[in-house]
Structures are given as structure tokens and as C-alpha cells.
Subunit: 470 residues, 2 copies
């Protein structure tokens, strides 16, 4: 194949293509929170019902988009774990694929706004089918130039079998979408069911396999060990690099979404400043005080959640599919933070709505933190394979890592109950919490060091006893 490689334009490392795709996908996944956050409450009590309905619809669209985009992203990871090098043609095909993925959120908005029209379903199915076809073309193209493939497949004898298997898995989704679009003409409710099946296909097929293996009595391990790709096993590794790149993208977008709004909406109008505040810009900006506080608060919270994520993944060696799933859930809640902050400064202080807004923020932060903790717990179950020795059970940094991961869930839970008890100070308590947590992270380091310093002689004494006994 060396002469073949010579003949073509130089093949390229796929690293940057994947980083760019991760950036695009993470933006698209997070962006649908904007229509939710920008929903304005009119203040009319009669409209409250329809407002809540609208908000619920939009939140559902956001969550569905996040889910579907991360499913598309997982498929993309799997594809480019098989294809490790690219050339110009693959790069262009991948860009076409990305263009269609970024269009998916719009089809979802259509579906949510017009649930009874079939246009949304048809557009969505068309996009997914074209994406599937492009991916199939990518696979066929790559298998026709084997030097682009993963080395394990390159040296394998049954390349044809791999190709067949991968194509079969890839084409499953477009074929189901074809059925969904056909059924939409007859009985459109069924189409939604089929689409839901498509999204949860990996999990459904996995649990079916598990049930069958339990029923027939032989263990899961008997699946042919040679098939390392496209297995949908919860232990199947996901590229850790890409999980990090995707998470970074989401955290970066969420951290900056509020400054976007501030730059656009919160620059006062010169005429208004002259008339209303007698030309005093400082007085005019004081109106926007809560917005600035919300911005710095949200940046600090998102930044620190990123910091916890970063600390955790420094010590993770392999990311399994299950850890990836928990990571996705955590990111979905992180993506909800701008909504919470918009709510925090939307309502006047000391109103009942302000209390609700603060409590929603606490709940969102709590779940974002808890799912980060869940990643670690999932990793601990298979710690020899997935974790660095330092943070394994009994490792030197085990306690420190646990403290880092537990800080946000504990603090947000504490704030939640405190605001319940002292509801008139809810906003102040919340802002105090936001400012306090960075300090807590710095203190945590000291506290854990002190704690470890105190524990070490104790542990040493305990260790000596068995030695003496031996």
C-alpha cells in the first residue's frame, strides 16, 4: 500500500478535523437553550398558563436536541475510531455531514411548534437519511483505501466482514427514518415512536442482548472478541480526547452565552441616559447591576464545574460508554444554566418568582455536579482499567478528588434548603454561595492537605501493626 499512498495526495492526521467537528457539535447542542432563556414573561396572570406551556415545550426541544446531537456525535466518534487518517475527499464529506447535523435543531423546533404537521418529521428524517448515506459513502471510500483505516483493521484478514458489519450498523438508522417518514403520511403518532426508538437504539439493542444472554444462560463474554468496533457494549471505550473536546466546547459556550446577551442588550441608549439619568452613565448602569452579577456568577460556576471536570479527566485513562452517558447528562444540565441565570435577574427581588428562580438554579447546579460524581463512581467500578492509580480506592488523591466532586452538589443542596428556610434573603444567599465556592475550592486544597498530614502518621501506625503481627 506504500505505492498507493504515494499515488494519492498525502493522507492527513484526522486530529484537527475531529476537533473542529467537536466544536461545531458542542455549539449546536448547547444553542437551543437560547430560545428558552429568551422567552419573556409578560407579567399578565392570565397568560401564565400559556407561558408555562411555551417554556415547557422549549425546554423539551432543548433536551431532545441535546440528546439527538450527542447521539450523532457518538456515531461520529465511532466512525472515526475506525477511520484514523483522512484525505481531502473525506474532509469535504465530513463537512457536508456537519452542515446537516447543525440543521437538526431547527427541524426539532418545527416539530415542537407544529406537533401535528408532518413537515418537521419529514425534514428531520430527510436530514438523518442523508447523514447516514454520507457516512456510508465515507466507510466505503475508506475501505477502498485501507491505509486510511485503523491499524487493527488494516492488518486484519476479514476486512470485508468489518466493512459489512459497520455498514449494517450505520444503515439501521436511515432505514428506520425512512419507515418513520412513510408512516408519517398514514399515522403520524407512530413516526414519533419510531424516532424515539432510533435514539435509544443502542441502549435497547444492548438490553435485549443482555436479556437474551440471561435467558439462554450463557454469559455476555461469548460475543466474538475480534469485533472491537460498533459493539454498543457499555464498556466500549469512547475516545477520551474527543469527550474532553466536546465538554470543553459546551462549557465555553455556556460560560460566554450571558456576555453575548449583555453586550447586545445592556449598553444603554445615549438619549435615554440623557433624559432619564441626567447624563450620568454610572446611574444608568446601576439599573443593570443584577445582569452583571448574574454574568460573573454564571461564569464562575461554569468555570469551576469545568475545573472539576478537568481535574477528574486528568486522572481518567479510558472513557467507557457509560461514563460518556453520565457526562452527557451533566453537560445537558450545565447547558441549562443560562436559563437559570436569565430567570434569576428577570424577576424583581424578594418576589415569589425570584425564590423559584434561585431554587431552579440550585437544582440545575446540583444535577450537573451529581452526574459528574456519577462519572467517577462509574469509573471506580472498573478502576484498574479506567483510573490513574493516584485516585483509585486507597490512592493518595482519592479523598481529595471525592471532596472536589462532592463540593458543588453539597453546596447547592445546602443553598436550596437555606433559601427554603430564609426565603426573603434567597437572592443574597445565592450570590453569596457563588462568591464563596471559589474560595471553598482553594480552602479545600488546604483542608485536605491538613487532613492528610494528620491522617498519615495514623495510617502509618495502623500499617505497622499488621507488619509487626506478621
Amino acid at each position: 500500500t506504500s505505492s498507493e499512498r504515494e499515488g494519492h495526495s498525502s493522507t492527513q492526521s484526522s486530529h484537527r478535523l475531529l476537533a473542529y467537528s467537536d466544536a461545531l457539535i458542542s455549539i449546536i447542542a448547547t444553542v437551543m437553550i437560547l430560545p428558552v432563556a429568551h422567552t419573556k414573561f409578560e407579567g399578565n396572570e392570565e397568560l401564565k398558563q400559556s407561558f408555562q406551556l411555551l417554556l415547557t415545550t422549549k425546554i423539551a426541544v432543548y433536551l431532545m436536541t441535546f440528546l439527538i446531537v450527542t447521539v450523532a456525535w457518538a456515531a461520529h466518534i465511532r466512525l472515526f475510531q475506525v477511520i484514523e487518517r483522512i484525505d481531502d475527499c473525506l474532509a469535504l464529506l465530513n463537512l457536508a455531514c456537519m452542515m446537516l447535523i447543525t440543521f437538526l435543531p431547527y427541524t426539532f423546533s418545527l416539530m415542537a411548534t407544529f406537533p401535528e404537521k408532518i413537515l418537521g418529521i419529514l425534514l428531520f428524517c430527510a436530514c438523518v437519511m442523508v447523514i447516514g448515506l454520507i457516512q456510508a459513502v465515507i466507510v466505503i471510500y475508506a475501505f477502498s483505501r485501507p491505509f486510511l483505516l485503523n491499524e487493527q483493521i488494516q492488518i486484519s484478514e476479514n476486512q470485508a466482514y468489518y466493512k459489512h458489519h459497520i455498514l449494517k450498523v450505520i444503515m439501521r438508522v436511515p432505514i428506520m427514518c425512512l419507515f418513520a417518514s412513510i408512516f408519517s403520511f398514514i399515522f403520524f403518532q407512530l413516526s414519533y415512536v419510531i424516532l424515539a426508538i432510533v435514539i435509544f437504539l443502542p441502549y435497547i439493542s444492548q438490553s435485549l442482548k443482555w436479556c437474551r444472554s440471561k435467558a439462554l444462560g450463557h454469559s455476555l463474554e461469548e460475543t466474538p472478541d475480534s469485533m472491537l468496533f460498533y459493539t454498543y457494549h457499555p464498556n466500549e471505550p469512547l475516545s477520551k480526547e474527543r469527550v474532553e473536546a466536546f465538554s470543553d466546547g459546551v462549557y465555553a459556550i455556556v460560560a460566554t452565552l450571558l456576555i453575548l446577551d449583555i453586550c447586545e442588550d445592556n449598553v444603554p441608549d445615549p438619549v435615554m441616559v440623557q433624559q432619564k439619568f441626567g447624563g450620568s452613565l454610572v446611574a444608568a448602569l446601576q439599573e443593570y447591576g443584577p445582569e452583571f452579577l448574574a454574568y460573573f456568577g454564571s461564569f464562575a460556576t461554569v468555570g469551576l464545574l469545568w475545573f472539576v471536570h478537568h481535574s477528574l479527566f486528568l486522572h481518567v485513562t479510558i472513557t467507557s460508554r457509560l461514563m460518556g452517558l453520565f457526562n452527557t447528562f451533566s453537560l445537558a444540565f450545565v447547558g441549562g444554566l443560562p436559563l437559570a441565570y436569565e430567570l434569576t435577574h428577570e424577576f424583581p427581588r424578594d418576589s415569589r418568582n425570584a425564590l423559584e428562580a434561585v431554587q431552579i438554579s440550585c437544582v440545575i447546579i446540583f444535577f450537573a455536579g451529581v452526574f459528574q460524581l456519577a462519572i467517577w463512581v462509574a469509573a471506580l467500578f472498573d478502576e484498574r482499567r479506567t483510573l490513574h492509580p493516584l485516585v483509585r480506592y486507597g490512592g493518595r488523591d482519592h479523598a481529595f478528588m471525592l471532596a472536589k466532586l462532592a463540593l458543588y452538589p453539597c453546596v447547592s443542596l445546602g443553598t436550596f434548603f437555606l433559601t427554603c428556610a430564609l426565603s426573603e434573603f434567597s437572592t443574597s444567599i445565592f450570590h453569596l454561595m457563588q462568591l464563596g465556592v471559589p474560595v471553598a475550592f482553594l480552602l479545600l486544597r488546604l483542608l485536605v492537605s491538613v487532613g492528610l498530614a494528620l491522617l498519615r502518621p495514623l495510617l502509618a501506625a495502623l500499617r505497622k501493626q499488621p507488619e509487626a503481627a506478621a
Copy 2:
């Protein structure tokens, strides 16, 4: 220092921290195009003057923000070329620094909207001074734990000299900002001059040095060779990885900015669809046809510009400061694309404004492409150091790379003149161009391959002659 390292919490590779910072900075740099793109033209002829003034102000804010943010980013690169490993404390300090950098665009908006009030200047100077202080703290902290530093400094004997030099360079900017903020109380125009000097400081100091060396007659090379960092020499290498990460961020944001607007604004209202279009969703969506065309067109253009950038940087081995500067200019024009596309579908077809919008788009694409070409030309001047052998002058892919880089400037120039001649078809020509270019990229590959296949025997014949002569 091994025991020191043991005593502290584990040091960490800075890779992901830098990737996250690059993502944040690229978002902030690009985001100020949104207020420009969202400026609505009222259609009133009397207001046209004030509309143009507003647009010019906002474009100036965008360009200034882009410039200042990339200057901050270059300073960040330089800092983390010295500090190669991080710990938790540095990560938190860096996040604080990032928070202030993301706030800079707002202070610029204030300055542009209220050029005669000093609050904008004061806020900006305060941010820059705090950023400078945090960076100084980072440097002092890192030099107190030398295992965090670059290996060259770690083994060097005059660490104290390095520390002194770096602190001196870093503190120059906050000190000038202190002066600017003091002068703002006395004579605020001077503050703007000082701020402009701060931004162009590296280039000014470099050209002063060059003039002095010319005047005194000895060459530039006599500066102590040991000082590899913070030299501001145009050949000083910038981390290629970070230039790529920053560019990826900008391209990704720009590619998705339009889908953001589409998802928020272009989902028709169910009541409106019922009343105006008799319940036909397809008819309602046809209203938005130009928006969708603009989205796919902009995604394709940005995606292909990214593709050219990617192809170029695959063959670049070292990025110099000059190449980084051209890259920044190219990205600033890429960031302007959403504005051009908003304009394209804002105005009715066949009006004079539509022609202007199409031509502005062409100009923006032309400059984005030309500055990419400039990166390559700058690289060719020092090709042994900066380029891969394949694309050097005379290399196998030299012609192909030139063709790739020249495609967009040529096509946009052609479209520009074609729209001048056939002004009534301007929009159609523009859309045809956008759809044609991806095909052109695929054909380019074929054409260059065919061209090379034809040239090869010719070149071989030419090569044989000198050999025969020898």
C-alpha cells in the same frame, strides 16, 4: 525538586486548560459581530445617515475587540510557553483571568457608545490592570515552583534574570493603563492614544529596535541568543497547536451563528400560519427561503475556508508571529461573514442595496482568502524552517496548495466584477458561486492531478538534460 513535586498535589499537563482558554477567547473575539449583524435598517431614508453611523461604530467596536482580544490571546500564549505544567492554583488563577478577558468586549461597547464619558476607559483599564496583576502572580507562583516551568528555563542558571525580564514585559501594559486612567480625568483624548499604543506596543517596540540597530549599524542578531521568550521578534514562534485551536473556535462559531438566529427567529407562529397561510406550513416556510439559502451558503463558505486553513496548517511546521498576524487578519474577515449574510437576505431582491450586500460579501470573502494566502507567502520566505518539504518551492504539492489558497480570492473577485456587470442577477450569481465552489474544490484535485501527470514526463525530460550535460 522531585521531593517538592511529591509534596504538592500532582502537577498537570496544561494542554486542556489551554484548549479551553482558546475556545473562550475565540468565542469572545467573534461574538461582537452579533450586535453589528442585528442592526436593523428601518427603511426610512432620513434615518439612513444615522443608521450608517451606527453601523460604522459597531463595526469599529467589532474590529477593535477582535484586535484587543487577539493581543490578550498572544500574551496568554507567550505566558504558557514559559509555564508548561500547571497545578490547581494556576488553573483557578487562569479562569479568573479568562473571566476578565471575556468582559473586555462590553467595556469597548461602552467606549464606542459614549466616547466622551470616561467610565468605559476606566472599566477597560481596570480590567487590563487586574489581568496584568493576575499574570504577574502566575509568573511569580510558577517561578517559586520551578518544576512547572519550561525545561529550558528549568535547567538554565539565570532563572532570576528570566523572571525579572518576563515580569517587566508583563507589567508594562498595566502600568500604561494606569497612566491612561489617570489622564482620562484630565484630558480623555490622550487616554485613547495611550490605549492605542498599548495595543501596538509589540510592533512599535520591534520597529524601534530595528531602527536603532540600523542607526547604530550592528545587526539584529546580536541580541542575546539565550533569551528565547518574550522577544517580540517577527520570527518568534507561536505555538502552532494554539493557533489552530483558536482558528477552529472562530470558524466553528461563525459557521453556527446563523443557525442560532434561524432557530430563534424563523420558526413561524402557529396562529400566524393559520391566519395568513390557511394552515399551510410549507407556504409559511417559503417566506424564509432566503434565510435558509444564506445559512447553507455561509456554512459552506466558512467550512471551505476552514478546509483551506486546515490544508495549509497541515504542511506548516512552525508558526511565526508574522504568520500569526496574517492569520488574525484573515479570521477578523471570516468573523465578518455573518454580517454579510444578514445583509444578503435583509434587503429585497433586485434592489440597489441587495447588490451592495452581495458585493460586501465578496469583498469580505476575498480578504479572508487573501490573508490566508499571505500566511503561505510569509511561510515561503523562511520555507526551510516553517514548511513541510512537500509544499516548499518545487515540492510535489506546491502547485496544488497554491491552487487551493488562490481559489477563494479568484472566485470572489470574479463574482464581484460579474455582479458589477450583471447587477440585476447579483443574488443569483452569488448563490451560484457558493454552490459551485465545493464542486470546484473537488475538481481542483482532479485538475491538479491531471496537470501534474502531464507535467511529470516533461519535468523528467528537463531533468535528464542537465544530468546528460553533467
